[in-house]
């Protein structure tokens, strides 16, 4: 049994209550949602919060609902809920692609989208998913609510714009016609972090050319969507040559580090290969949506 350092525990009842508790216990308190990142780190004593504020009773943050041309997803929505939602799969197939390869059912039953994003692990699949879908993060704190783009939300590995006294409450995804998205991941074993992954989202114009596109990489040293790839794709009709060019750009732009999952050359190759695959599938899906 791995034993964390001593800590105190309190269970929040509402978002307002959670914010009060965060204010009360200050910088040495941490919010726990699914706990799949925080608790292992505590057991290894890499993380030693004095207070754990449990937000698992915040059912008000567990929702998926369509609101005009936005899909709103509560931060406490579990991976399993996202995986099983047909509405999410129809609008943003990349989410189901990614959720299928996030850990295992036991983890997915507890882990949340908000927890995943706030942990901001460089190998976090949902960070890339939210990046390429240009999601907005709704954050609440003592100074009220603010809405950030993903580029504002991310501050680097294990760091986000969510303040110590704030709570990520919701993610919002813009719904666009003629759109498709996909996620491609290589892992050493089910449940392992990605060796590398790529996500793509594509919106086609009425004439079948690319209206807008986003490509993002996971665990490959690129923490924002690849602008060069979007520029190359825009206005062009999707084809293998275009995917190959985007793949080459992704491989050039990424900055992976060698580790037990693989050396730099392999990871760079994955950036290329998985970008091609993700774009190919995203474009196919967008085209199908256009036809449908």
């Amino acid at each position: 049994m791995q034993i964390p350092a001593p800590f105190d525990y309190v269970r929040a009842t509402t978002v307002d209550n959670a914010l009060e508790l965060l204010a009360r216990y200050g910088p040495e308190s941490r919010v726990v949602a699914g706990g799949h990142s925080l608790l292992p780190m505590m057991k290894l004593r890499l993380s030693r919060p004095e207070w754990l504020i449990d937000i698992n009773d915040l059912y008000e943050l567990d929702f998926i609902l369509r609101d005009g041309n936005k899909l709103r997803v509560g931060a406490m929505t579990r991976h399993t809920t996202l995986l099983e939602s047909d509405e999410v799969a129809a609008l943003f197939p990349i989410v189901r692609d990614a959720e299928l390869v996030i850990a295992d059912p036991v983890v997915r039953n507890r882990g949340t989208i908000g927890g995943s994003l706030c942990q901001a692990d460089p190998a976090e699949d949902l960070s890339t998913v939210c990046d390429v879908l240009a999601a907005e993060a709704v954050i609440r704190g003592p100074r009220g609510e603010r809405i950030l783009s993903m580029s504002e939300f991310h501050r680097g590995p294990y760091e986000t714009a969510v303040g110590q006294d704030e709570l990520l409450c919701e993610l919002r995804f813009g719904i666009r016609p003629r759109s498709g998205s996909a996620y491609e991941k290589v892992e050493r074993r089910v449940g392992d972090w990605a060796v590398g992954a790529a996500g793509a989202a594509v919106t086609l114009a009425a004439d079948g050319t690319v209206d807008d596109a986003a490509v993002g990489l996971t665990a490959l040293g690129l923490d924002h969507p690849l602008a060069e790839a979007a520029a190359v794709l825009r206005g062009r009709r999707p084809d293998e040559e275009l995917f190959a060019r985007a793949g080459t750009l992704a491989a050039a732009a990424c900055d992976p580090v060698a580790d037990q999952r693989g050396p730099v050359d392999y990871k760079r190759h994955l950036a290329d290969e998985l970008t091609k695959r993700a774009l190919r599938r995203a474009c196919d899906r967008a085209a199908q949506m256009q036809e449908g």
């Binding site: 290589v186 074993r189 392992d192």
Partner: protein, 797 residues
């Protein structure tokens, strides 16, 4: 198929689906496991029990400058803090290993691997014990570590065991076997010689239950009761008597339900000794249970063999000879659990299943700044390494000769009529029909169709691979004259008592870690005596209740203890015959046995069942002279030879050409373990071993960085396979009984772990043939497979 073991219907059994004796019955132990009622080490709670925790070294190689325990001792719940200096006073700072070396219980002079035991805290609860570890101040003077075994013998390599007088290098042993001159001569005149370096990286058995102990020393009576996660309770008792100086009759070792061992629970770890010291010091029971990181980083690893293989053949594909030199990384202490005369375990079976003219192998063992251990993970004393080497070499040769690997094997197998077969390194294989197993495996796989499918897929650029491996295992050591563990001959005892009502209890010296002993051994007695298995209690794991024996590892339970149990039951049966004769007023030689009953020859209606005889034995029947009034017996079985199970495995993989990801699509395993006692348990063992094989082939490795940091300290870093990585196993069997084993059985526990990795790697290499790949080292991660496709794969160590 060699023999269909077709048993005639058994009148004593009554219900065909509930056989008396051998057959597919549900495991007797499972009701408690499936109800969560197993009783494991950590379930043990004794009155007044304290908890221990070990402070471990954060670095791989360092002089110990000082330890300050003041702050830890000031913790209100801490009872004692024990350091190496304290143990020096008790002469317990160093303990003998199972390989004639010593291992530090707590560091006194120098840290020799990351995770080594530095101090032991005893506290009122395990939380306080763990917290107090952070209150111990240790100063280290960090030394350059030796991580790369290939550099261990360099003149400038740091000397790890400088505490041993006169030691100036890191060489543990040089060992060789086979006729070198003869082998070299065959190689010199062979048409074809192929060489390949084959690495079996360091892996870990990673049982789900980590290791632990509860020590309860009774100072008044001088008695030590030690509950331990051990596969070999009797050996531990003797060693504790020798090490701790407690008389052996005052020591009781109890091994409760064990949550997996795989060789990880053979040795005596410092934690066990520290729990005993903690109990002696505190006067209270002390529990110590390691956490996952401690288990992965400090307990017995497996493999770590760098093998230079060479194979010689005629151009027609007749294999002539094999030779190899092995560099074996044993870590900081030589603590491998193996028979004394076999420093490389049973690696000398690397001649495999082939009829060779000559073979030679040499092994050099070295120290490095890594955790000690070396024989674990269901390896049958290094048969895993041996089989992996020979089966890779045969495939390398097949490629060179442009021959089908199955065909090449069929051409070179030892033939059925050659058994018993003496190989070139001193083993006498008991029995086998290799061709039959190979052909059955090919038939189950649809081998020809698979090759056709592969050819079509290659046309389309798809990478499909078919891998073949054929293994011969060597399991069930003794005989005691050849094999011992620290001087204890490798034999096992069994005691059988038939109670007056005909129910029985059989006491055995081996200890289950999940193998189903409570069922298998009851079935052996049932087969011999005709008592239903549910009426036979199997007692094991408690040295006060069981006869002496060497324990469960190296697939030796059925070959050795199974023999003991069959013989003890026969002894009871013969005694029953004498008593039945008295009861029937007939001469014993006029009686005939049918399962469960002695009857008068020529008059089957006149007889006595075992239950009637048992009542008679304990009752008022006038017993023949020299016959005691019971129906009990005991034996110690010293096997005349080991048993040699074998099998033919075929694996089908698909490799993603863009990412190097490997999918094991099919796996066909044909096993021959001689007489099959409970087919369901055998299949379970095979399924588990095959899953192990997928783990080793695709993902498992303990790596170290240049500073000597272990990079596999958790299940986030040390990957073990899940149901998602394995296919539906397709199993088949042949039955070639062992001629010398009392019931013809051979071991099965490790066959699949031994046999499956080469099948998987051979399949991957086969898939990558279009890229000119002839070898890929394990673990075949996507990155390593892709590197091989680019022609730049490097060995993992």
């Amino acid at each position: 198929m060699t023999v269909i073991h077709d048993r005639p219907s058994n009148p004593a059994a009554g219900d065909e689906d509930r056989p008396i004796g051998y057959g597919r019955i549900q495991r007797k132990e499972d009701p408690r496991f499936v109800r969560g009622q197993g009783h494991y080490l950590d379930d043990i709670v004794l009155p007044g029990m304290l908890h221990g925790a070990i402070l471990r070294a954060p670095v791989a190689h360092a002089r110990l400058v000082s330890i300050d325990t003041t702050n830890a001792l000031a913790h209100p719940k801490v009872v004692a803090v024990i350091t190496g200096k304290d143990l020096l006073g008790l002469k317990l700072a160093w303990a003998p290993t199972l390989s004639a070396d010593v291992q530090a219980v707590l560091v006194t002079d120098k840290v020799r691997f990351q995770g080594q035991e530095v101090a032991f805290v005893v506290a009122e609860d395990r939380y306080a014990a763990r917290d107090a570890l952070e209150l111990i101040d240790v100063e280290y003077d960090v030394l350059p570590p030796l991580v790369d075994a290939r550099k261990a013998l360099d003149p400038d390599a740091p000397v790890i065991r400088d505490e041993i007088e006169g030691r100036t290098d890191n060489r543990i042993f040089d060992w060789e076997i086979g006729d070198k001159a003869e082998t070299d001569a065959v190689f010199a005149s062979a048409d074809v010689v192929v060489s390949q370096e084959v690495v079996y990286p360091r892996v870990h058995p990673a049982p789900m239950e980590t290791c632990g102990a509860v020590a309860d020393f009774d100072a008044v009576n001088g008695r030590l009761t030690l509950y331990e996660t051990t596969q070999a309770p009797h050996v531990h008792r003797t060693l504790f008597a020798i090490v701790a100086g407690i008389p052996e009759h005052k020591i009781r070792i109890v091994s409760p339900d064990i949550g997996g061992g795989f060789g990880n629970k053979v040795g005596i770890y410092p934690g066990y000794i520290l729990a005993v010291v903690g109990s002696i010091v505190s006067g209270r029971p002390v529990k110590w249970v390691e956490d996952r990181s401690e288990n992965l980083m400090s307990t017995s690893f497996a493999r770590d063999y760098i093998m230079q293989g060479e194979i010689a053949a005629t151009k027609e594909g007749k294999i002539l000879a094999l030779r190899t030199h092995v560099l074996a990384d044993h870590g900081a202490f030589n603590a491998t659990a193996q028979p004394t005369k076999n420093p490389a375990g049973f690696f000398s079976i690397f001649t495999g299943s082939y009829d060779l003219l000559a073979a030679h192998c040499s092994v050099t063992g070295v120290y490095t700044n890594k955790a000690p251990g070396g024989v674990a993970y269901a390896c049958s004393f290094r048969v895993t390494e041996a089989v992996y080497l020979v089966e890779r070499m045969v495939d390398v040769l097949a490629r060179k000769l442009n021959m089908d690997p199955a065909e090449l094997r069929l051409k070179n197998f030892i033939k059925p009529e050659q058994f018993p077969y003496a190989n070139k390194t001193g083993w006498v294989y008991d029995s086998g029909n290799y061709e039959a197993a190979m052909r059955l495996s090919m038939q189950l796989a649809g081998y020809e169709d698979l090759r056709r499918e592969q050819a079509e897929k290659r046309e389309r650029g798809e990478l499909m691979g078919i891998g073949v491996s054929f293994f011969t295992e060597v399991v069930g050591a003794g005989p005691r004259k050849h094999f011992d563990i620290v001087g204890l001959g490798m034999a096992d005892g069994a005691e059988l008592r038939v109670h007056p009502t005909g129910k029985a209890v059989v006491r055995i010296s081996v200890q289950s870690q999940g193998q189903g002993h409570e069922t298998t051994f009851a079935q052996i007695v049932a087969e011999e005596l005709g008592i239903p298995p549910e009426d036979i209690e199997v007692v094991h794991g408690d040295t006060d209740q069981t006869p002496f024996g060497l324990g469960t590892y190296g697939s030796r339970s059925t070959p050795v203890s199974g023999g003991a149990v069959a013989l003890v039951a026969r002894k009871v049966r013969e005694k029953a015959k004498l008593i039945a004769g008295a009861m029937l007023e007939t001469r014993p030689e006029d009686l005939e046995w049918e399962k469960g009953r002695w009857f008068v020859k020529g008059d089957p209606s006149v007889g006595k069942t075992i239950a009637e005889i048992a009542m008679g034995a304990h009752g008022t029947v006038a017993l023949p002279e020299g016959v005691d009034g019971n129906l009990d017996a005991e034996v110690t079985y010293d096997p005349p030879n080991l048993t040699f199970p074998f099998g033919a495995y075929i694996c089908v993989v698909d490799v993603d050409p863009g990412t190097g990801q490997v999918k094991v699509r099919r796996f066909i395993a044909v096993d021959d373990c001689g007489t099959r006692i409970n087919p369901m348990i055998i299949e379970g063992q095979v399924h588990g071993g095959l899953t192990d094989g997928v783990g080793m082939a695709l993902m498992e490795i303990i790596e170290f960085d240049e500073a000597g940091n272990c990079l596999a300290g958790s299940f986030m870093d040390y990957l073990i396979p899940t149901a998602m990585e394995v296919p539906d196993w397709e199993t088949g069997f042949t039955v070639t009984p062992s001629p010398h084993h009392p019931i013809g059985a051979k071991g099965i526990g490790e066959s699949a772990t031994v046999g499956s990795p080469p099948a998987i790697v051979n399949a991957i290499v086969d898939a990558l043939a279009p890229f000119g790949v002839t070898h890929v080292d394990m673990p075949c991660t996507p990155a390593r497979v892709w590197a091989a496709m680019q022609g730049r794969a490097r060995p993992p160590i």
